[in-house]
């Protein structure tokens, strides 16, 4: 009996091969509806004992460029591991004081058959890696119309001194049929300013089969209310995906808004783009909700759209009495950017918008954001004040702040070179109001607070002013800004 069965199965095997070959032949000639010409490889390996084919190493600007190396002595398995040297504070090899890089394969890979990025890691001491994940492409993916469209970030990953396997789930694998961002990380020294070293090995995408029970969320799962003025925008924030893993633990990652499908209950009032940008169209009310892979996301936004209110028009002044950075009332100096998108620590999105004939700056997910004007820099030595109009439409909480920083690049006119200075003025909740334009006039002599993330502690020069920075340290989510100018 058994022998017969074995023969049968061999026959089946043989027949199976023939069928497969036959089907394969047919496909060569059939360019029907199902034919997909852009086929991407599905190599799951990122770094096993060396770089997988097509993989590149691109450190963040300002990071410690040589933080990454291939270590053949310390490794979990095989011949080599990835080694990351997180710098000490004030390490001269990094202007921004951190280690961070992306590892893209710009040829693109089909990751839709996997459900997680996995790796083994250990460190010289127990630590938390600030940000680690995949989907970061520096905006250079040939297959994406927006930067890092399907970014996934695990924040504060705890690692220990023992080799341990880590799992970063893919929020929705079906989206990643042409992904280029294979891996990325960013990590700075600890609170004592001490750096350390960590190793990653066997870095690859896997189909674990145990990533289950999705619990997506927007706005961190909260049901929020908000007000936007007609013509303004709001970025949907707090977009996360949570899965239950084989160890029974829930694992939550930040998932880029593009993983979600958004819905506005009244699309005449507001619409939402693929990347989660709400655009307020007309006065009224609408509810913003989302699904991820067909699963309803926790969290929503009850949005009220109100009539637009413009900032007060600045008074007429003699040209010699004003240097305008951003205003429709005066002639502006050349501006390099209204949002520097300083990776990886800046969360702020947004920038220039135009409503009617008026230009405004609108920022969302604010922690800090810079407007840069270093070509040329501004000589504000003859000016006395900085004017800014700010509007906040969310409720002001007790701990909310807005910090306004000015950064001067010094005689060399460029960032760095030990001749830069910067200072700030901080507005507390008592200085702020909701749903109204706040007109601010600061004496330039008063910019004495810290700036540049603690790198500066007072604006000592103002002959080469190059940046104005708005920061809320994530206390206030969205602001409108207009009429930034120096005057006397």
């Amino acid at each position: 009996m058994k022998n017969e069965k074995r023969i049968y199965s061999r026959l089946a095997l043989f027949l199976g091969l023939i069928i497969v070959v036959a089907v394969g032949c047919e496909r060569d000639y059939d360019f029907g509806d199902d034919a997909k010409f852009a086929k991407f490889g599905n190599n799951p390996e990122i770094f096993i004992d060396g770089f997988s084919g097509g993989l590149e190493y691109l450190p963040f600007g300002g990071s410690k460029f040589d933080a990454f190396s291939v270590d053949t002595d310390v490794k979990y398995k095989g011949e080599a591991a990835m080694r990351f040297d997180v710098p000490n504070a004030f390490d001269p090899s990094t202007t921004l004081g951190f280690a961070g890089a992306i590892f893209p394969d710009y040829g693109g890979r089909d990751l839709s058959g996997y459900d997680a990025l996995t790796f083994w890691a250990k460190a010289t001491k127990a630590e938390t890696i600030s940000e680690i994940g995949f989907g970061n492409d520096f905006g250079d993916s040939p297959y994406r119309e927006s930067t890092s469209k399907f970014l996934v970030t695990k924040q504060n990953l705890r690692i220990s001194t023992a080799w341990t396997k880590y799992i970063i789930p893919i929020p929705d694998p079906s989206k990643l049929f042409n992904e280029t961002g294979m891996f990325w990380y960013a990590e700075g020294p600890d609170e004592n300013g001490d750096g350390y070293t960590f190793w990653i090995d066997e870095l690859q995408f896997e189909k674990l089969g145990t990533i289950a029970q999705p619990q997506p969320a927007i706005f961190n799962g909260e049901d929020e209310t908000g007000v936007n003025l007609v013509g303004t925008e709001r970025q949907i924030s707090g977009t996360t995906q949570t899965f239950n893993l084989a160890n029974g633990q829930n694992e939550t990652v930040l998932a880029a808004p593009a993983y979600f499908d958004f819905n506005s209950s009244d699309t005449d009032v507001a619409t939402v783009t693929d990347n989660g940008l709400i655009q307020a169209i007309a006065e009224g009310a609408t509810e913003i909700t989302a699904t991820l892979g067909g699963v309803p996301a926790k969290g929503s936004l009850e949005l009220t759209v109100g009539e637009f209110s413009f900032a007060p028009t600045p008074p007429a002044r003699n040209a010699a009495d004003v240097i305008s950075i951003f205003s429709n009332a005066y002639n502006d100096v050349p501006v390099d950017f209204y949002n520097g998108f300083f990776e990886p620590f800046q969360t702020t999105t947004g920038g220039l918008i135009t409503i009617g004939d008026d230009d405004l700056l609108q920022y969302e997910e604010l922690n800090f954001v810079a407007t840069g004007f270093s070509n040329p820099t501004v000589d504000a030595t003859q000016m006395d004040f900085l004017h800014i109009d700010i509007r906040i439409d969310e409720a002001i909480d007790a701990g909310d702040i807005i910090r306004i920083e000015l950064v001067d690049f010094g005689p060399d006119g460029v960032f760095g070179g030990d001749n830069d200075s910067g200072g700030s003025i901080t507005l507390t909740s008592a200085d702020l109001g909701s749903a109204t334009w706040i007109s601010l006039d600061f004496p330039l002599d008063d910019f004495n607070g810290p700036a540049g993330g603690g790198a500066f502690n007072g604006l000592t020069n103002r002959a080469n002013v190059a940046q104005v920075v708005f920061a809320s340290d994530a206390t206030i989510d969205a602001i409108l800004v207009d009429n930034i100018y120096f005057y006397r």
Binding site: K2, K5, R6, S9, R10, A12, L13, F14, L15, G16, L17, V20, K207, L208, G209, T210, A212, Q213, Q215, N244, A246, N247, G248, Q249, N250
Partner: protein
């Protein structure tokens, strides 16, 4: 005795051969074959509930345990639920028996759920007992498909014997276990009287994302535990974990299906445990022991 042992080891070898054949077939056809349940030998049906009639479970086949246990102690295990027979907690719908664990204040408990028994309706000595189920997930979930000696009212536990066909801890969604309880190996206690327990790890699958068949084949001096087409353990009186008398050759057993919450198997739910949770049973089938294997 020795003869019996020989027979048993043959029984274990045979499925492995079948499994090898199965692999060959899978390579050839590129899909699962019909010939997967090679771990079972008994095919004459003696009891089946396919749960095809919507409404309460068939009263001719199932009774309920209600409450928090006769000792008011969470059924001897510190379980946190109050068992009811309300449709919120137990119902047949769309071809499934659905047991639902709800977080609610009810009587003296903070949760409700259900436990069904065939006690007084159906019991059998030896044979094949299996259920196809999809389990809940989350810390504190304790679904079980198990059996007790039908003489439990006159021959109290653990002397009546207990066969746990399937138990699962909600915090280990890829691992189930089967176990035997008897005198001397009745439960975790300071003297180390542990049940004879064996875990099965799905490795690349879970209990809560799809249906799996959990079963035993039970004959004189042996109990085989299987999941789907994998026979993962044979217990015999000689097993090193059976640290007391073999109490599984002394009469018929009845079946129980329940979803407990908390208790001393998985501990209480935590703030990540999602409620309500459901346990789906596609069918329960029992086959007669045929004496051949």
């Amino acid at each position: 005795m020795k003869e019996g042992n020989k027979l048993k080891s043959q029984r274990l070898i045979q499925p492995i051969k079948h499994a090898l054949l199965g692999i060959v077939m899978i390579f050839g056809l590129g899909c699962a074959t019909e010939d997967t349940q090679t771990v079972v030998n008994f095919t004459q049906l003696t009891f089946a509930d396919e749960f095809d009639v919507d409404g309460p479970p068939n009263p001719g086949k199932w009774v309920y345990d209600i409450g928090i246990g006769p000792g008011n102690d969470g059924w001897g295990n510190g379980e946190l639920q109050y068992y009811t027979n309300r449709p919120e907690n137990v119902v047949v719908s769309n071809g499934y028996l659905i047991i639902t664990a709800i977080k609610e204040n009810f009587e003296t408990a903070g949760y409700t759920s259900a436990r069904l028994l065939t006690k007084g309706k159906f019991d059998q000595q030896y044979g094949r007992f299996e259920a196809r189920m999809r389990l809940p997930y989350g810390k504190g979930m304790w679904p079980a498909f198990w059996m007790l000696g039908a003489n439990i009212d006159t021959n109290p536990w653990p002397f009546c014997g207990e066969i746990d066909i399937m138990e699962n801890r909600g915090r280990t969604p890829s691992i189930v276990s089967g176990a035997l309880h008897g005198p001397g190996y009745w439960g975790a206690n300071p003297e180390g009287s542990n049940p004879a327990l064996k875990e099965y790890d799905f490795v690349n699958d879970r209990v809560d994302t799809g249906f799996h068949v959990y079963g035993i084949e039970w004959g004189p001096q042996y109990i085989n535990l299987y999941v789907d087409d994998v026979l993962y353990k044979q217990f015999t009186p000689e097993d090193e974990k059976v640290t007391g008398p073999w109490v599984f050759d002394q009469g018929p057993f009845f079946m129980l299906i329940n979803l407990a919450i908390g208790g001393n198997f998985d501990g209480p739910p935590n703030n990540e445990t999602v409620f309500p949770q459901t346990m789906l049973v596609d069918y329960v089938r029992v086959y007669k022991y045929n004496g051949l294997d």
